[in-house]
């Protein structure tokens, strides 16, 4: 089931990239957030990708050949550490010196990441389309 295998691999990547875009938009939306349920300013989040693990049965079946793997989000990590201090005495969360701790999120960094996620997503759509096209061509044999 090679064609379906490609579809599954492509789908795993689309899912992973979608999670990544969700995390990026969360970071962008919370660039100015100074209060969170956990206390303190919002912490920048990022995704960690890993090749997807396979079940034992599949592993056994494919033990004689190296197997193509999909991708998945292993976990979403919060960046630890202090945010950047901005002088704003009128802010309700300002400290005694008039500084507010804001999330340390760079707009440029997030936008670059967003573009990369978009590029990866498109590349995977291309591979799914290739599989689809090959399957359709195979149906034309003997026509």
């Amino acid at each position: 089931m090679d064609i379906l295998g490609v579809m599954n691999i492509g789908y795993s990547a689309l899912k992973a990239q979608t999670t990544r875009v969700n995390v990026i938009s969360s970071n962008l939306a919370n660039m100015e957030t100074t209060r969170t349920p956990e206390g303190g300013p919002y912490q920048r989040k990022s995704v960690i990708f890993t090749s997807s693990s396979r079940g034992f049965a599949q592993e056994l079946e494919n033990s004689t050949r190296q197997q193509a793997e999909g991708v998945e989000v292993q976990r979403i990590v919060s960046q630890q550490g202090a945010g950047k201090m901005v002088y704003d005495p009128g802010h309700p969360d300002a400290n005694a010196e008039g500084y507010v701790e804001k999330p340390d999120i760079s707009l440029v960094e997030e936008m670059t990441d967003l573009m990369k996620a978009k590029g990866s997503y498109e590349a995977n759509v291309t591979s799914i389309k290739a599989a689809q096209r090959m399957a359709i061509k195979a149906l034309e044999i003997g026509r």
Partner: protein
């Protein structure tokens, strides 16, 4: 599918080639999916040589003797009967030691993807012609 009967060895080779091409697509799409996974080593698949070898062996009538041409070959990697060709899988490790140890180049994979697809479609077309010829000769009417 055996070589006797109405299906000759060309059909057999085309059949196997299409099989391997669709397997190769899986390998390429896995590389594309893992293009940003830290520590992922690009998976590669070569089968052209093994297929060529098995075709020339079958052609000269030396049968299904298997042999390995590379120390890392699996026993079914090269030579032997056409149906036994599995292709040679290997991972190319990242050598430069900088970054996240991922050595997938999206451009490279895209080129491989389209090459693979074109060759697959060429195979389909040839197989179609082969079958059309068979159809032609088994028709009763002139």
């Amino acid at each position: 599918m055996t070589a006797n009967g109405i299906f000759d060895s060309t059909t057999q080779v085309l059949d196997k080639a299409l099989d391997l091409r669709s397997r190769k697509l899986e390998v390429i799409s896995a590389n594309i999916a893992n293009a940003e996974t830290p520590g992922y080593a690009r998976l590669r698949m070569d089968f052209e040589e093994a297929l060529k070898e098995s075709v020339s062996q079958t052609g000269s009538g030396s049968g299904t003797g298997q042999r390995t041409t590379h120390p890392r070959h699996m026993t079914t990697g090269g030579g032997g009967a056409i149906q036994e060709v599995r292709g040679h899988f290997y991972r190319q490790m990242d050598q430069n030691g900088i970054g996240d140890n991922n050595n997938v180049s999206l451009e490279r994979e895209m080129v491989d993807l389209s090459e693979n697809q074109i060759r697959y479609e060429a195979g389909i077309r040839m197989l179609g012609k082969k079958f059309n010829m068979l159809k032609l000769v088994i028709q009763e009417r002139v």
